[in-house]
Symmetry: C2
Subunit: 113 residues, 2 copies
DNA sequence: CAATCAGTTCAATAATTGTTTAACTCTTTA
DNA sequence: TAAAGAGTTAAACAATTATTGAACTGATTG
């Protein structure tokens, strides 16, 4: 992940609706969610959703696959991993920001020297 | 870290100049860098720098301390840790995105199930 | 094949964000 | 205390991003 791509990814996530959309897709798992379902859950219009999904897709954080007349969107976990990796490597002073298994539990290395 | 604050932090970092500014401040260490030095390194005007530092500061990613007629800005590592923690906990499907010691080395858990 | 459904694209507009120049504040130095 | 340095604030403008409603495309169903 380079600076340019990181900025694009950060920009994609730097908006309430899109961050929430991404979170929902992560929760939904690999199969993802149909665009319509997402629109309902986010309570936004189809064009608005399309607009936001486009920026998430272009950032590579999300993929869509057509199935019949539905389009299922799903989160690209690897892309988020890359982003977190970039932030950790470039913006955390060289120390680990998110120790393994940090999901909810307190971090072991809370502060960096 | 909550969604609102995460969006604010992401937005602060979602811009070339600011991401680079933050990276420079991380590199500079706890003492930080005088605003003027930052402006030179980023090759932007003082008002432009002020504008960008304001968003970083308001996001809590950066602090300024006045010293004589200089203002030294420094990165708040804890804030970045919180952000990475938020992304890991909310947007990585519950698995760790950035295993401890991920600084440069390959991740052990590359893909999540 | 006409009608409907799911979603996107387009065009217009509103709102936010970034840049620039000028004026200002605060601190130091002569 | 006047002048100069470091940085911020303000105001005007440009550019980008977000929202809305209408029209469009492609797939299914009657």
């Amino acid at each position: 992940m380079n600076r340019i791509k990181a900025v694009k990814s950060l920009a994609a996530l730097a908006q309430e609706t899109r961050l929430e959309a991404f979170r929902l897709l992560v929760q939904a798992g690999p199969d993802g969610l149909a665009a319509g379902d997402l629109a309902v859950q986010l309570d936004i219009s189809p064009p608005a959703l399309s607009f936001h999904l486009r920026s998430l897709t272009q950032a590579g954080l999300v993929r869509g696959r057509q199935d019949g007349r539905f389009i299922y969107y799903s989160a690209d976990y690897g892309a988020m991993q890359s982003l977190v990796g970039f932030l950790t490597e470039n913006c955390c002073g060289g120390a680990a920001c998110a120790p393994a298994g940090a999901s909810g539990r307190k971090s072991i290395a809370r502060r960096m020297s």
